[in-house]
């Protein structure tokens, strides 16, 4: 079953906690329910993008630095 992880609000999507850090997750990594897979920057604040359910991160649908809308699919979990 494929589950999508959605953006909680519109903004800029980042896969890393800071520009020089490693990404939160790579494709193929296991993800726990509630775990952070990326950040959204909106109006100078940062908000975590969290998986609702556990699974394996099949692929990212948004790339680092992309502008995303609220409820846009960010990644797929299997």
């Amino acid at each position: 079953m494929v589950k999508q992880v959605l953006a909680p609000l519109p903004g800029l999507f980042y896969r890393k906690p800071s520009p020089d850090a490693a990404p939160f997750k790579q494709e193929g990594d296991p993800v726990a329910a509630g775990e952070t897979i990326g950040l959204i920057e909106a109006m100078k604040s940062f908000f975590p993008v969290e998986a609702d359910v556990a699974g394996t991160l099949a692929r990212f649908l948004a790339q680092d630095g992309d502008t995303v809308d609220a409820d846009q699919a960010i990644a797929e979990l299997e």
Partner: protein, 456 residues
């Protein structure tokens, strides 16, 4: 030489404000815009729009090279930096100066000096302006700590010299506690940082944030009285007033005089703001820093003095000497500004960008709304959340709060969440009505659930 063509290196409501001030003086405007801002109100008002880069501020409004190049290409003879972004960046100002373009603000050296906390503090001390009393360097042994604390006055705060982020801070109420806490703090500092150095400063509980607006032309300086900005959330001002009606007249006079003294000492040119902490218990004020730019809350000063601060900035930058003296400036009545942000107060102030489906400005006399809003505008998520500043004026503070309530009730913004409900709740709060607040008041008020309770 009077400015003919002005490049506006900012966005949002302040870019709208600068466009209007420039036009009132017959100055042509060139508006800088990121790719995300082409539909903005500022771009609609400007005579010309120049795209400076992609939406991300780091690649547009914060990109010194891109902006300097755009200014040169535009043929503008001056640049207004607004607030935030590059407004207090000495490297930007040096580059503008080197290009032979007038910067609407002080020179790069003044910005660098007043932007450095230690240097600004040293200037204040030299000008005889009070700063938060401190040990000015490390305290030695316990006997030295005792002497310093007696000079500074209890309560004092001791901090590790090598520390940061609030770690190892202790509030010491009296000498008996000092005897106990200094050795403890030294041991802890040694264990945490490998360095037992401590310094000490006066702890001001329930401080109020007071600031003085000044205008200087490089020789003369006047003040336009003070503002109180104690209602803050996460160190962001949310509600501001002019004058600081809760302070004794004598204190307000002394504040204004001290601000002029310090600004004159650095031959200040431009509008500037000197920020102070005020201890209501001892009625003492202490200089903390100077902002060398226009501030968000300048309209309340305009409301009580009748002086257009942004137009004054443009005229001074154009080479005019101050056209009034201190004795010509009077204050009348009371003004309040509240910041309308695109945030949801019911959801921990989560940002709320998006389409403004319905908008109608507040109506009534003595109400001003400085805003970037128009119906059908899509608020972008890339920049800060300020979408408007609601400013009211009345003969006294009580009446100003009533006018504010009227204004808040008649402002209509639909499609996005705003902080209007927060301001409605504050406007009917007893402490706010009495002016009984300090810089930590708003956060404790919210932590106590006052905002939720106010909805019933």
């Amino acid at each position: 030489m009077a400015i003919k063509s002005l490049f506006i290196a900012n966005r949002g409501e302040i870019a709208v404000r600068i466009n209007k001030a420039a036009k009132a003086l017959g100055i042509r405007t060139v508006q800088a815009a990121s790719e995300a801002d082409l539909d903005s109100l500022a771009c609609r008002l400007a005579d010309e729009v120049v795209v400076i880069g992609p939406p991300q501020a780091a690649k547009s409004y914060l990109d010194v090279e891109a902006i300097v190049q755009a200014i040169k290409a535009s043929g503008a003879d001056a640049v207004h930096p607004g607030y935030g972004f590059l407004s207090e960046n000495p490297r930007f100002v040096s580059a503008v100066e080197a290009a032979g373009i007038t910067f609407v603000g002080p020179d790069a050296a003044t910005i660098a000096k007043m932007g450095d906390k230690a240097m600004a503090r040293a200037e204040a001390v030299a000008a005889g302006v009070p700063v938060v009393p401190g040990s000015d360097g490390r305290i030695g042994d316990l006997a030295d700590a005792r002497r310093q604390a007696a000079r500074i006055g209890y309560p004092v705060m001791i901090k590790a010299s090598a520390g940061g982020g609030g770690r190892g801070i202790r509030i010491v109420e009296d000498e008996a506690s000092l005897e106990k806490l200094v050795p403890q703090a030294m041991a802890e500092a040694r264990a945490s940082f490998g360095d037992d150095g401590l310094y000490m400063e006066r702890y001001i509980q329930h401080a109020r944030h007071i600031e003085v607006q000044v205008l200087g032309d490089g020789t003369d300086v006047v003040h336009l009285f003070e503002r109180e900005c104690s209602l803050q959330r996460k160190r962001q001002k949310v509600w501001e007033e002019a004058p600081a009606a809760m302070l004794p007249r004598s204190v307000r006079d002394a504040l204004g005089a001290s601000a002029v003294l310090l600004a004159r000492r650095v031959n200040y040119r431009n509008a500037g703001t000197l920020e102070y902490l005020y201890d209501s218990k001892t009625q003492e004020f202490f200089f903390i820093e100077m902002n060398t730019r226009i501030q968000v809350e300048h309209p309340i000063t305009e409301a009580i003095t009748g002086i257009d601060v942004v137009q004054a900035q443009l005229r001074i930058a154009g080479g005019e000497r101050l056209w009034f003296g201190q004795g010509d400036i009077t204050q009348t009545g009371h003004a309040i500004e509240v910041r309308i942000n695109a945030e949801n107060p019911a959801k921990m102030f989560m940002p709320s960008p998006g389409l403004v489906a319905t908008y109608s400005p507040p109506e009534g006399s003595n109400i001003r709304f400085d805003t970037l809003l128009f119906e059908g505008y899509r608020i972008v998520p890339y920049y800060d959340s300020l979408v408007g500043k609601l400013i009211v004026w009345a003969p006294d503070r009580r009446a100003a709060i009533v006018t504010l309530q009227t204004a808040l009730n008649s402002l209509k913004v639909e499609g996005i969440h705003t902080t209007v409900p927060l301001h409605k709740a504050l406007a009917r709060d007893n402490d706010v009505g009495e002016g009984a607040f300090h810089t930590a008041w708003l956060e404790s008020w919210m932590a106590g659930g006052a905002l939720e309770a106010s909805r019933f």
